[in-house]
């Protein structure tokens, strides 16, 4: 089987194998999931090697079978796609490892692998119909993850998540249909191929098509005001589910902008850039302000995700090479940092079954390693230089400072300033403040070896990207050169 | 008044009466009678047309309508009987849900 197809089929086959292994018992399903995730990560890294050797500029394409209405099976991978696939694979393995002690049925593991498969498909697809199919396919496993294995309000959160993102995707489908129809009207042929659709004359419908795509991708990114599903979904999802949601699914939205919207309509992209930058500013500041008001740890991190994706959007809207590279890098950073934070909250919740800010206290004394890693991840999240968050935010803002009036950069920096205002009081409340009478701190034992290993891996990557980002940026930048204005 | 207009008037009146019975009555048998009346009225109109045109196909149509009415009577009455035997009564207004 051709390599790129293997990449997305492998986790799907793993999901099926997990379901089958579930017949033998929960332990068997778990082992099968670990094996599948590990082999998927190996495959993703192997696929990364030739691209690394070529300096990130190579593009590998395959497929080409065309069916009715010009729908074809076309996959391609460049530096950006392979990095995101590697991130997906890594996070899947991390999720499997982090959920190791949970007593869950085989479906749980299958959902993660199916989600990974569908996300990989999104990152690989170059035919827009195929892209849409994979895009929608990510909703189903996530729906089940939230709805079946989540917290108290899981049903409601799952339905809200599904309806919201589905509505956005329908708008995206409408826009894609309009695009393909316009292409048919102009040249007489039906095609859904991304490359062929570039430069389609759209006439007066062009802004609507761009808006439809923006709304579809914007629900996923999420762009305020389309963000309302995120807080509930994150709060109710199981911890590992939140990691995949934040680490993989949010990236799909921005990836869609970079891969589909911007290359298809470069003129409109330039015209809409100030609007996008303004939306990014709103994201950064609104997300930070909302996060300051939260009393639930997961909700707080969810709103901080919104703020971080605002920085990614700054970079994407800037149209400069450092902004775009920063946007891509920040996608990876956010997956690692927010993933680590959600995992830590998950570990807390597993022990204490609560996650409110006022439910703990003095954990720095009782659980020093938990406290250390949580502090590390928090500092990365608020953009402390030397850790990965700063590099991404810095490059994105440097990009927007170059191509937009300074007020946008100022708004971005304000977002960075406010991030300390929501993160540090929360850290203090959980780890430093004395434990109140109803506190659950007594139940919180420190991390065990498996959990520490996972977090050392994540924190090590954060430190690496923060101190030596040159290699990472150099790998991501060539894929985005075509978008530089 | 010509025969045609008389036939049309009687057929129309019968049809209207049948429709009224179907729509306004709540008893199943009464609604059923209304349906039969509508069919008979339509049949009457077709008979008149057949007579006017001396068309064999029209006469065949009459026979078909009679057969359809008979078949429909069988099926409908057996359903009504079934429903009655199952204790559902004969009131269409009370039967708003399928049960079991």
């Amino acid at each position: 089987m051709s390599p790129l197809t293997t990449l997305w089929v492998l986790p799907l086959a793993g999901a099926g194998a997990c379901l089958l292994a579930g017949r033998l018992g929960r332990g068997a399903a778990r082992l099968c999931a670990l094996a599948a995730a590990a082999s998927f990560l190996a495959a993703a890294l192997l696929a990364l090697l030739p691209c690394l050797a070529a300096g990130g500029a190579a593009v590998f394409a395959e497929g080409g079978r065309t069916w009715a209405f010009g729908i074809s099976y076309r996959l391609a991978a460049d530096g950006l796609s392979l990095s995101l696939i590697a991130l997906t694979a890594f996070l899947t393995l991390v999720c499997v490892a982090a959920s190791w002690t949970l007593d869950v049925s085989a479906g749980y593991w299958a959902c993660f692998l199916a989600l990974a498969s569908a996300a990989t498909g999104v990152f690989l697809a170059r035919d827009l119909f195929l892209f849409y199919v994979f895009w929608e396919a990510t909703l189903v496993p996530m729906f089940f993850l939230i709805g079946l294995w989540g917290s108290e309000n899981r049903r409601r959160a799952a339905v809200k998540f599904f309806l919201f993102t589905f509505a956005g995707s329908l708008l995206m489908l409408l826009a894609l249909l309009a695009l393909v129809t316009a292409r048919h009207a102009a040249s007489g042929e039906w095609t859904w191929d991304l490359e062929s659709l570039k430069g389609t004359p759209l006439g007066p419908a062009a802004p609507w098509v761009f808006l439809g795509l923006l709304l579809g991708f914007g629900v996923k990114i999420p762009i305020v005001p389309l963000h309302s599903w995120l807080a509930d979904a994150h709060t109710e999802a199981p911890a590992a589910g939140s990691v995949m949601l934040a680490g993989v699914m949010l990236k799909m939205g921005l990836y869609g902008l970079l891969r589909v919207s911007f290359p298809l309509m470069p003129g409109l992209t330039a015209a809409w850039a100030p609007t996008l930058a303004a939306l990014a500013a709103v994201n950064a500041i609104y997300g930070a302000l909302c996060a300051m008001a939260q009393a639930d740890l997961k909700r707080l991190i969810a709103y901080s995700s919104i703020a971080h994706m605002g920085f990614c959007l700054f970079g994407a809207a800037s149209g400069t090479s450092q902004g775009l590279a920063g946007s891509a890098l920040q996608m990876i950073n956010h997956g690692l940092t927010t993933g680590a934070l959600f995992l830590l909250v998950g570990f807390l919740y597993q022990r204490a079954h609560r996650r409110g800010l006022s439910d703990f206290g003095e954990l720095a004394v009782r659980a020093p390693w938990l406290s250390f890693f949580f502090g590390f991840a928090t500092l990365a999240s608020i953009g402390l230089p030397g850790l990965n968050g700063f590099v991404g935010e810095f490059l994105c803002l440097a990009g927007i400072a170059r191509s937009a009036p300074p007020v946008f950069a100022a708004a971005g920096v304000l977002g960075v300033t406010l991030s300390a205002a929501y993160a540090l009081p929360a850290y203090q409340a959980v780890f430093w403040a004395p434990a109140g009478p109803g506190s659950a701190s007594a139940f919180v034992a420190d991390l065990d070896a498996r959990e520490k290993a996972i977090l050392w891996l994540l924190c090590g990557l954060m430190l690496w990207i923060g101190l030596a980002p040159a290699g990472w940026v150099a790998f991501l930048e060539p894929s985005l050169r075509g978008l530089v204005r | 008044m010509t025969i045609s207009s008389a036939v049309w008037t009687i057929a129309g009146t019968l049809f209207a009466l049948g429709l009224a019975m179907l729509v306004l009555r709540r008893g199943l048998l009464a609604m059923f009678l209304g349906v039969e009346l509508m069919l008979a009225a339509a049949n009457l109109a077709v008979v008149r047309q057949a007579g006017l045109r001396a068309d064999a196909q029209a006469q065949a149509a009459v026979a078909l309508i009679l057969a359809v009415a008979a078949a429909e009577a069988v099926v409908g009455l057996s359903l009504i009987l079934r429903a009655f035997r199952a204790g559902r009564g004969l009131d269409a207004g009370a039967m708003s849900e399928l049960r079991g």
Binding site: Y286, L289, S321, Q428 | L22, V23, G93
Partner: protein
Amino acid sequence: MSHVAVPLEAWLLFAAPVAALLIGFFLMRPLAPEKTHWPILLSCAVVTAASLSLAGQVLAGRSFDVNVWRWAAVEGWGVDFGLRVDGPGAAVLAMVAVVGSLIHLYAAGYMKGDPGFSRFFLVFHLFFLAMIGLLTANNYVQLYLFWELVGLASYLLVGHWFHKASARRAALQAFLVNRVGDFGFLLALLLLLARYKVARFHLLYLLVAAGRHEMLPVIAGLLIWAACAKSAQWPLYFWLPDAMEGPTPTSALMHAATMVTAGVFLLVRSWPLIAAVPGLPVVVAWIGAFTALAAALIAGTRKDLKRILAYSTVSHLGLMMLALGLGRVGAAIFHLVVHGFFKAALFLCAGNVAHALRQPTASVDEVGGWGRAMPLTYASFVVAALSLAGVWPLAGFFSKDAIVDAAWERGGLLAAAALLVCAGSAFYIFRMLLLTFHGARPEQKGLAAHPHEAGPGLAAPPLFLALGAAAAGALGPTGSRLVFSGLRGLPVGRLGGDLVLNLPGDPALPAFSWTTALLSAAFAAAGAAAAYRLTMADPGWDWRWRGGRAEAVLASDFGWTTLMARLAAAVAALAGFVGRVLDRAWWDGLLESGAAAARGAGGLAARAADGRLNDYLWWMTAGAAVLLAGALR
């Protein structure tokens, strides 16, 4: 590439602390936490030797500015990290190394028995490393990196005793206020990169000198804002007095000698940019003068020993800003170095006093007449206090005189302010000296506590620092040569080459002038006399004037701290509104009401399909009639 080799000492400056931190964190902390300080003290020694050696090299003319590593780069744009060791940097680095090492030694004794001993030392040394990185940075991005790291270390150290609510609050306040200042730094950095394409100091100096001035007022203004936060100038100074919640070694090293001077150092590095904007240096001078005067006044009224010293630090930082604003870069750096010595000595003495009471800090109510019981501490304090007050021939005299001279040359209100600050400094430090170490007053409980010296580990370092505070004056000429060796007489390099560059600014320390020397001595004497009168001749005065409106106003720094508290509460209220009302209740509620509306509409529509046969028949009839009418038309 570069034909200037980076000397070994520069690598050691970083390698030693990093090694000490790794050994401390991975080996000592799990195995023998009470011995965490051993690798760290060793590293301090190495760093001190290296920095003194580098200072010697700079004095001999071998400054350098070399890129060592590519941090991030895209097509046509990149940020490199490198090392810049020139006059100002080497001078401050030498001070930081010596003072820092002595305070590390002191901390080993002071923090003994503290449950967080290991954590304290690791964070303390992280701060030390960050400060070294800040002083040797050769571009703004690298400086920002270490600047924020220093802020992080400050947060962790002020909040060291985190079970205390006041410490938590102070740590958070310190970090957030510094972050507000960093808004300026980061934005300035982004604008510099956007408009000038480079962040490296010497390239920017060349560009600005060549006439490129786009957005320079904004950029320079933002950098001044950042310096005001870090160096505790008005309006962002108020975090510093509260930061005294941290252990004394923290206060001595960070909030007196080194971290707070980072702001002044930033302005020194940015001076060509600031000086290129007409009218901006005067703003700096006024901020400095105003802060110096107000802080000196407030310092004279505080009762907590560490807080008196904190306000004194704010005041002296103001003096440094004043010197900078008047264009005397050299005088500012000279005072920075000397201040580091005497302020650290004073803080360590205050720490000894508190340690004798077995408390984290001491108030004038709890001491009194301790001069005889703690002779070594007393001696260190006296020398350092005299240096602070600017008494000849101690170092403080020379550094303060340089600033007063510059102000006098300027004339007007700034000169008056400088002289009044002299008087104020002498007043508050003599008040502190006399209240703590001389003649117990009935309001004080001093002698009942039976104080005694804690031991060589705590008594020796302040002694050495005081010696430094005294002797730096003897090193005056050498010191100024060091500071200015990077400033003149060296060739201007080509753009893009790794060569040393001149830092514009007035190269020489002002020549000694009898007028200013006598004036400042007179004002200082007046201040000291007032202190004597109000503490020894009228012992109860310090307690009598309290309790009224005046004290309330002074306690809240003329209302500024209350204003800032209200501002912070307003921001929190805004966040609460946005997060809870706007987002959750209004917007989310609106969307969910959409769902509710859909459900309602569905319910309405469902009524048409209620399962009743007769209704269906009506609908069928109506529909058939409509279709028939349409067909027959």
